[in-house]
């Protein structure tokens, strides 16, 4: 994974069939990038479903959550509507896995992104990185600890 302290590489991906999202548009906010292998798979569904419930805690830290997988924008739309997600899923679909490669979390053998988390601060610097075993839902506690630590450092 990319090292803590380095700038998060810029990217632009579809967030809906007719909208794109650039990472730099979120400057001034913390960003949680949640790379996950596949829409609809059981572990990913649980993980994104959990984050859907913990969004309000992320927002207290001025943090936006973004999910990223290699699934297409239409697949994301269906998955998101089915699960009532309140955060964007980005389609790292063409060229496939380009952003995941940029963040060093692409699994070329499976053709999917790894299950990995980055927390990026308001200036676009990576402040926390976590690679989860692929079959294991990492939960929200690591993200919250990282967000809290960032806010504490700022206060001191």
């Amino acid at each position: 994974m990319l090292a803590v302290g380095t700038p998060a590489p810029e990217f632009e991906l579809h967030s809906t069939p007719d909208q794109k999202l650039k990472l730099s548009e979120l400057k001034g906010k913390k960003v949680i990038l949640a790379f996950y292998p596949a829409d609809w798979s059981p572990v990913c569904g649980d993980q994104m479903g959990l984050y859907n419930e913990t969004l309000r805690f992320f927002k207290k830290h001025n943090a936006e959550l973004i999910g990223i997988s290699v699934d297409s924008k239409w697949c994301h739309l269906a998955f998101s509507q089915d699960r009532k997600f309140h955060f964007p899923l980005l389609a790292d679909f063409e060229p496939k896995g380009e952003v995941a490669r940029l963040y060093d979390v692409y699994d070329a053998k499976e053709g999917e992104t790894q299950r990995a988390l980055y927390v990026i601060d308001e200036q676009g610097i990576i402040r926390w990185a976590y690679l989860s075993p692929v079959g294991m839902n990492p939960g929200a506690d690591g993200i919250l600890n990282a967000l809290e630590e960032l806010d504490n450092v700022k206060q001191n």
Binding site: G139, A140, D141
Partner: protein, 174 residues
């Protein structure tokens, strides 16, 4: 994350079933509308039966409100019943009627359990009862709960098979 620990220790504020000084403490974070929790419900009963006073069981709320629209209300109903000393009765009632959790059903369960229904309805919208559920959720989130049911055994997250046999064997091995 893996290897997570229970960040909020079990206290008298929790709903505890069984021997409160038992050597084995099992905490479940559950969602009343989650089918996996429904499947775990009779397994826990069997474990309690098999382990008797060696087991202390604690249930905490972890409602996933977006995918389970009745989960929050059901959790609140169990806590409201708890105000009248019938938490576990409502807990069981709900898990035994998982497909009937709309408000009118919850009120009828309260009646069936002999609760003061007016008091129950007031408690269901009270700040104290709702924040109890929210506190449970937050403590689970901070402890690495990543789905439901999630189990903690003596303060450590248990991520292995919770089918009856392997679960019992693991608990017996402690």
């Amino acid at each position: 994350m893996s290897g997570s620990l229970l960040t909020r220790k079990v206290t008298a504020k929790d709903h505890i079933q069984g021997n409160s000084s038992a050597a084995i403490e099992l905490v479940e974070y559950g969602d009343y509308q989650c089918p996996h929790c429904g499947r775990a419900y009779p397994i826990i009963k069997k474990l309690q039966h098999a382990l008797g006073n060696k087991l202390k069981f604690v249930f905490r709320n972890f409602p996933l409100t977006n995918i389970h629209p009745d989960a929050m209300n059901a959790a609140v109903a169990s806590e409201a019943a708890g105000k009248q000393g019938k938490f576990w009765e409502m807990h069981d009632m709900i898990f035994e009627h998982q497909d009937q959790l709309s408000e009118s059903y919850l009120f009828s369960y309260a009646q069936e359990l002999g609760l003061n229904v007016e008091q129950f309805q007031n408690d269901m919208v009270s700040e104290a009862v709702i924040s109890k559920v929210e506190d449970d959720f937050e403590s689970g989130m901070r402890s690495g709960v990543n789905g439901t049911p999630s189990f903690f055994i003596n303060g450590e997250k248990y991520s292995n098979n919770w089918d009856y046999e392997p679960f019992l064997n693991y608990l017996k091995s402690l």
